[in-house]
Symmetry: C2
Subunit: 337 residues, 2 copies
């Protein structure tokens, strides 16, 4: 059997099933946004790694290396945010094609390091190698959290509300615009939407605030799409949910873009991915405190649905009818078939 036949998520599940360790220092192992490890009596160590591969995750012909550097780090920091932790250190391993320019590598690092500074995270190591053909970027981030404040995927309860930070679908709509109609969009709108695709901001402050104030019962970051990532919370928590299409938070620029039908825009918000917003569940008793806290930050939080016992994930449209959500999934391997 080939790798492309089994698919990415099956392969990861297979590795997790075969090799999940039950060592007493591992508080959270394979299968969450980051691993949580007991290394001292006070804090847990968080660690997460992501690999970006040319022509799978990015295309050199259309990629600005400064933004590629920022994004490569951002997607990892977002995983630390999703645990309610603080990012501390990171390692960068690069496989570099020999004809890549030094200016490209310099800009890649400049992007990474600017975001690292903004997030008070420090480069401590890694590896640099030649690559015969394609550029690859592997980043590992180390962070920390208080053990009582860790936010896993598995804590959602029946009756919890489902919230997201920020707005949904901007990055996906920005990518569609970049790939198809950049000249037809209003420059300001194009800029706002594509910047969400090119330069996502990890919600570290927001994640830590939710964790420190014990406001959420489960949390994940939206990397592969709202529905896929919500399904991960529901599977880990053994619950179901209803999401209301009318409540999905949309940015002004997203609203004002009329190049695409509403159906396309809903699909961007539900399944486009790369929002890097936090998706979290909130017990009823904490909702008022969350909303009070939400108004004090730059990044709004919006209630988009409810957790139930159904074992199903249903999206209801503006008339409370089920919205078709088949094929909003995303799998790197399956997409290569």
């Amino acid at each position: 059997m080939d790798i492309k036949e089994i698919g990415e998520s099956n392969l990861i599940q297979r590795i997790a099933d075969n090799y999940r360790s039950s060592h007493s220092s591992i508080i959270v192992g394979i299968g969450d946004d980051a691993a949580a490890l007991k290394v001292s009596s006070q804090n847990v160590l968080l660690t997460t790694g992501d690999l970006l591969v040319e022509d799978v995750h990015f295309d050199l012909s259309s990629t600005d290396s400064y933004y590629l550097g920022r994004k490569a780090l951002a997607v990892n920091l977002s995983d630390i945010a999703a645990m309610g932790g603080s990012a501390r250190f990171f390692l960068v391993s690069l496989a570099l094609p020999p004809h890549l320019s030094l200016a490209f590598v310099d800009d890649l690092y400049r992007g990474m390091m600017e975001l690292a500074d903004e997030c008070d995270t420090h480069l401590v190591g890694g590896d640099t190698n030649a690559s015969p053909l394609k550029l690859m970027i592997s980043i590992t981030v180390l962070g920390e959290a208080h053990p009582d404040n860790l936010l896993k995927r598995s804590g959602a309860q029946v009756g919890d509300s489902i919230f997201v930070t920020g707005t949904l679908g901007d990055a996906a709509l920005g990518l569609i615009l970049l790939q198809n109609d950049p000249t037809h969009a209003a420059p300001a709108t194009l800029n706002a939407l594509t910047s969400r695709h090119l330069s996502p901001l990890p919600r570290l402050k927001e994640g830590k605030k939710l964790a420190d104030n014990h406001l959420a019962s489960a949390m994940i970051d939206i990397s592969d799409g709202l529905l896929i990532d919500l399904e991960r919370i529901l599977t880990a928590s053994n619950k179901g949910a209803t999401v209301f299409l009318s409540q999905l938070p949309r940015s002004k620029d997203f609203e004002q873009n009329h190049l695409y039908p509403e159906k396309t825009k809903f699909d961007c918000a539900l399944g486009g991915g790369e929002d890097y917003e936090l998706l979290f569940t909130v017990p009823p008793s904490k909702e008022r405190e969350l909303l009070r806290l939400g108004t004090t930050t730059d990044v709004p939080v919006t209630k988009i649905g409810e957790v139930n016992a159904s074992q199903k994930l249903v999206v209801l449209d503006h008339e409370q009818k089920p919205y078709p959500v088949a094929d909003l999934g995303y799998d790197h391997f399956l997409s290569m078939r």
Copy 2:
């Protein structure tokens, strides 16, 4: 300027110069075998990452995936050993070509996990992705050490003796045999030498013993070759050294191989690389204790030279004449010119 023009070591130096952080929690940052980070009052966290790229570090046509898995982890564990630490956890990120067989990936993991078990190290995460063409393996290992026992590259003093664990040149000679004359070598010898190339054993126990007993002043693991790695200790310590060719420890199988001239074998021992033995400097006052301890372990230690104030690295042959060592270096980028 292209990447291949600047060369790997210059590029790493450039990154280190531009981005070395002086954060107070970073005890050892970029530029040693592993980073050492203060995360609790008792222990320091060690972390190191290595990236293996198909057709740069290994060739799928001649690689057994079980051994590739072992080796990919071993080279990282060796970096933890070189700090005098214990390995605890690791993350694995893979970029997998779609036509790779699942059996290959299973064997890769089996190799990694067997070595992990032997070294009491636990898989806690990573990433799995498609790769358009080549296989890539990125591993990050987390370990720990007592802050007073850390062995850096920078502690060598004038008058210290230079020691290595085990024997030198086996892996390099094994690789030459594999690539050229496998059928001409005696099977037992071929097996012993090639297994040093295919399945290096990280010297974790030995490194920790040296560290815990405060026997060494500086330490590194030999990955790129004795002379290159010794030069790294000397540069970090601002010292010079003399190495005696007659004292280089050679295995029985290395001695008994007569397919190649002595010159080739010396070059394997001095510059072949991938020995993954520990190279360390020992103050005169500690030498007797080291040798006493050395006889109680399976892995011998051998004195091969002396640290001096000359700022030069000289190899003396059996007649005490300088041995020519030019071009024993190794640089992935330069080698692709």
